[in-house]
Symmetry: C2
Subunit: 354 residues, 2 copies
């Protein structure tokens, strides 16, 4: 199979697959509780929090929807800057919630001042943000946005860090993030199927007053079970074995080194693009360090480039998403990649361009 440099899923190491292939254990016994507990310090370090991390057997949209169901009592403000963040507004509407959005052009970041102005209108009790918008390669100003949201008492802040978690520092507690969630098939380099998330005390308190939360994604069920290092429903045990493994890899590397490696690898792709005149779709200052989204230049046969790269060199990159499909292309540098493996990709891309 070709190796993936798409923005998730990405290449999974042999060692991770080996960890995932450990024999099954019962999920209502001490072996599972030890496994669950073992994931906490690593996740908490990466999320910058002392709060417990919950393990949801779902992809990220499950927890994104759950955040609305558990926490939106009055009205949610969704910050929309690409395919995934835009969709969060549609999901809120599909649940019958009162929702408004701030919509910027795809490729732009959300400006904190705009959020402040909107929240000053009043009536909101929840804000959703996608930190790193995977469809456009925009990394929003998490610190600036958190500062604004937290200046409005009673407004909770949900942050999807699906494609930034473990690639950049995130300080949940210091920033006052109320729900921090991440998929595992992005920078954590696991197969998809598991979402990790943490909730602030304020989020848990809000959920207590919320009727009709259901069961599968009930934050209070997650909190109750986390106290005994367990999950409300049968967990994706193999993926949690994989998570335990990759957190060990991250601890050995050091989180700061991991962040630096992602930045350095990302810079290699930026430099490659600059050499060939490919322009970044995201503005300077808001460019993701886990993936790069390039404009497709006029006259450049993107489809043929991607196809040849795959057929000849067995590397897969990705041709835009949603309404900018074809107009952009994206290269991921998430996970376990090194300068050496990025340079293999770069050499191959250069070969195809020649």
């Amino acid at each position: 199979m070709p190796k993936l440099f798409i923005p998730g899923p990405i290449d999974v190491s042999k060692e991770t697959f080996a960890a995932m292939s450990q024999p099954m254990i019962g999920h209502r016994g001490s072996e599972f509780e030890r496994l669950y507990a073992s994931t906490q310090p690593g996740l908490q370090e990466l999320g910058g929090t002392t709060r417990p991390f919950f393990l949801s057997t779902s992809s990220a949209w499950g927890v994104m929807e759950a955040s609305l169901r558990n926490l939106c009592v009055k009205k949610v403000l969704t910050l929309c800057c690409g395919a995934f963040s835009d969709k969060w507004f549609d999901v809120a509407k599909s649940m019958g919630l009162s929702a408004e959005k701030i919509q910027v052009e795809w490729g732009d970041a959300i400006a904190p001042a705009t959020v402040r102005a909107k929240l000053e209108e009043g009536g909101f009790d929840l804000v959703t943000l996608i930190h790193n918008e995977t469809s456009t390669g925009v990394m929003n100003d998490l610190v600036g946005l958190a500062k604004v949201v937290k200046s409005f008492p009673g407004v909770l802040f949900v942050v999807d860090a699906v494609s930034s978690f473990s690639a950049v520092p995130i300080e949940m507690d210091a920033l006052g993030i109320d729900v921090l969630l991440a998929g595992v098939q992005k920078a954590l380099a696991l197969p998809p199927g598991l979402t990790v998330f943490a909730c602030s005390e304020a989020a848990i308190e809000r959920a207590k007053g919320q009727a009709n939360r259901g069961y599968y994604f009930d934050f209070l069920e997650f909190a109750k079970n986390a106290e005994k290092h367990n999950t409300p429903s049968t967990p994706a045990i193999s993926l949690i074995f994989g998570l335990q493994h990759i957190l060990g890899v991250i601890a050995a590397e050091g989180a700061l080194n991991r962040y630096a490696r992602h930045a350095a690898n990302n810079a290699l792709i930026h430099a490659w693009g600059a050499r060939h005149g490919f322009k970044n779709f995201a503005p300077a200052g808001n460019q993701s360090v886990t993936l790069t989204c390039f404009h497709t230049p006029a006259g450049f046969d993107q489809g043929s480039f991607i196809k040849t790269l795959k057929a000849k060199h067995r590397f897969v990159i990705n041709g835009g998403y949603g309404k900018i499909k074809g107009l952009t292309f994206r290269i991921s540098n998430m996970g376990n990649e090194t300068a050496a493996t990025l340079n293999e990709l770069i050499t191959a891309m250069d070969d195809v361009l020649e």
Copy 2:
């Protein structure tokens, strides 16, 4: 690690883990669509349906809750005969739905006549059943119950076949089942984290008129994506590779042979119990063929038996669930077990008993 003979998760074969360790593929491309499509004939044969099977990245409770959210407009009748079927009533209440239940003693099966009498009271549009109640070892009379439910026009029938699917024949279309769902960590012998389910046309039609379905478990999103052999949200790719593998194993064995093997293996455990005077918790005629639930006889130190079996022979069986914990113990014969492997377990249990 000890080998599991608990009612899920169970032993996963090396070959399944190898299949799950295939390199990642993008989930929005033709490779994934082929993978998805490849699972359909096998699932449809096992479920006795021509309807598409949806692949939900969740454990079964996600789809059990989703069935209520998508399909209950008026009032749901939950058929309760054990820990899991009882809980379905609580979940309905947690969603703010109008719900009533038929509650029988744990260890008893649901009588079709009782269901008929209740439905004749009117006002219901949905019935939920757990075919094989994993907490008590009771297998309900699916054919008889389906016949009753289908005699009430406008009442849809949701069947959880979590621990019976692929172990006994299930004829979704012939019985008029509206939602058939199964976890993969039971008789399919995969790690947990994926639920397969199919919906009748009537179920899809009902969902269309249902407001506030949300997104993650929206049956219409599943149906729309299934048309192009895909899923609404990022799928658990490794588990689907595993599913593809095990469906190949089942096709090679033959579904009928697989059913016969489960029945024969189950009979070995029943015979072992009879030899030692252990009485079945489930009544004759309603005993599961995938697991056996025995009464704990007076004076029998169940905890010590289970503990020694694990420590000395590396086999794990299970000591009751919920309010009958300690009062019963359970032995699974699901999945890839043979007479030879069951006899290894039996020899070990005999050794501990001596």
